[in-house]
Symmetry: C2
Subunit: 340 residues, 2 copies
């Protein structure tokens, strides 16, 4: 363990143990703590600070709010050869995903396409660890979830949609998958929170204030409304996320999730939809050729100097696996202070 | 039938007969002609000129190129309880969709989620008529297709992606569905073609010229590369469309489809993926409540003065059903001239 005045370097194992201890000593079950710690360490490992271990602070806050059930054990409802629902029973999403994803993958490998709906989960992690985990089994995945109302629909001026992320992964033989995970808002809400923590102004096309005017003040943005990416097209996609990962699966819209929170500022509680596509079942005899087709697409992107999404993240992952991760001493001390 | 110097008003029946005659006299089978005429009339009816009857000109061009099989009868490959493939056998997509969609809907109503892959089809129509037809049966649908390479990936400067549309429909009781159909390019290619026909300049953020520079010239845009909507996020979605409606279903990427065309300028030949979600199977006992949840979302959008997608189209539809549609005499004469 190296140390200097401002940062501390930890191995991924050390970071996992720290994260686990923060969670378990604050009343989260061992199974849930393990699942959540994995997700936050993955975020930190990939240099996604907004989804890294600083989220443990919010996690503990959520645990202390009393709405989340720290001892929840997910239950399985096997609906059809291509549909499974997991009730997270008001625990965090990570364990529910671990339980459900294995069944989802099995179903996709038989039926070609399958869906996993996770209900009643507190969601506080990125979606890319989930779609990547499915792609690691050779299956493509599309995931989406609402959050808390904070984004105005195109042409409107009041928060309605959440940041409503969409994530997708496509498996690639012998290398990391093609993956993206994007908020349908102009940026992730966590980005604005990081600007706020850093005392920095935000770009003026990210959000509007409470009066519907453009703002560069992160506080006013957080109390006003964020904007969707790509204007009315991003807004349409955000509405689709609300519908498919809300009413379709008998779970809350971002507006309901916000109301459920009752202003306590816990992690959002809502559902999630994951659709899995098995290229082998879809492709049949052409599957091998199809793999090459997909690789030709990636070559077409990188061959003209453009980047595949997640490449920066994968490079950071490689560095972290070799050298560990560094976090600020302030954050480290704050996390240690959470262990009770 | 009213008439003036510049425009002619036709009833939807008259327009269907005209469209059918254009197609059938140019060698398209009766079944295919009927299916295609319905799609073009729907576009004209909804005031979507870029997907209306002027596309008959391109259709006939495609028929005369000799690549399309005018007498193709789609064949069915029933893969699993949730997956069906339709081989359009190098006919147009519309008939293949008609054949496949009924089976798709049946599967979704049993399994909750189901997919329809259409292969080897010449695609020359919007996707909204398809997702709307599925929503009319109470089932939500997500559709996507590649086209011909004409869009550069974010950070690149060469055409690789097609305009790669994504369409979605959510059924609403007693009213028209929530529907959007959007190119993942900044605009639909047909829009640029319409600007070209009208001799107008295009906005400078739609495309780059052959040298990778922004351009307002529709000709240079069409020979250069279009841009995706929403920067790298739109680019990521466009890549997803290539993968799911290309390699996943054993069909061509936009670049392969363009190469297959061999420069003759026919309608693009490629595959299409449609995913159907049955809210009743997903929702179970909560289905009724879920319908109200979705309506609350729509109220939240319109209640703040924002619009639902497709509302302009639905208003045009109402007008067309009452008063017929008007098309320019130039176009009318051109269409009559195609009847041989």
């Amino acid at each position: 363990m190296q140390e200097n005045i401002q940062e501390i370097v930890l191995s991924l194992d050390e970071l996992h143990k720290l994260s686990f201890n923060v969670l378990v000593t604050n009343g989260l079950s061992v199974r849930q703590s393990n699942a959540m710690a994995k997700v936050f360490v993955a975020g930190q490992r990939d240099n996604c600070h907004s989804h890294g271990v600083w989220r443990l602070i919010g996690c503990v806050k959520t645990l202390r709010m009393g709405k989340l059930r720290g001892d929840a054990e997910p239950t399985i409802d096997d609906i059809s050869p291509s549909l499974i629902k997991i009730d997270a029973c008001f625990g965090f999403s990570a364990l529910a995903f671990e339980v459900g994803s294995q069944i989802l993958i099995e179903k996709a490998k038989k039926s070609g396409i399958a869906a996993l709906a996770i209900n009643n989960c507190f969601h506080f992690s990125a979606l890319w660890p989930e779609v990547e985990a499915i792609a690691a089994e050779g299956v493509a995945a599309l995931a989406m979830a609402p959050t808390h109302s904070c984004v105005a629909p195109a042409g409107g001026n009041k928060p309605l949609f959440g940041t409503n992320p969409i994530a997708f992964a496509w498996p690639r033989p012998g290398t990391l998958p093609f993956v993206f995970d994007m908020a349908t808002s102009a940026v992730a809400r966590g980005e604005i929170e990081l600007y706020k923590r850093a005392g920095k102004k935000i770009p003026s096309d990210w959000a509007i204030d409470e009066n519907g005017q453009a703002t560069d003040d992160p506080d006013r943005a957080l109390s006003g409304a964020m904007l969707t990416f790509g204007g009315y097209k991003g807004s349409a996609l955000s509405a689709m996320v609300e519908l498919l990962a809300g009413p379709l699966i008998s779970d809350m819209l971002s507006s309901e999730s916000l109301a459920f929170d009752e202003g306590v500022g816990a992690a959002p509680c809502h559902g999630e939809l994951i659709v899995a596509f098995d290229p082998t079942v879809f492709g049949g005899e052409s599957s091998k050729n199809n793999v090459q087709r997909a690789e030709a697409l990636f070559d077409g992107i990188t061959g003209q100097g453009a980047r595949l999404p997640s490449q920066r993240r994968f490079a950071a992952r490689q560095r972290s696996l070799e050298h560990g991760v560094s976090i600020s001493m302030d954050l480290y001390d704050e996390l240690l202070g959470l262990i009770i």
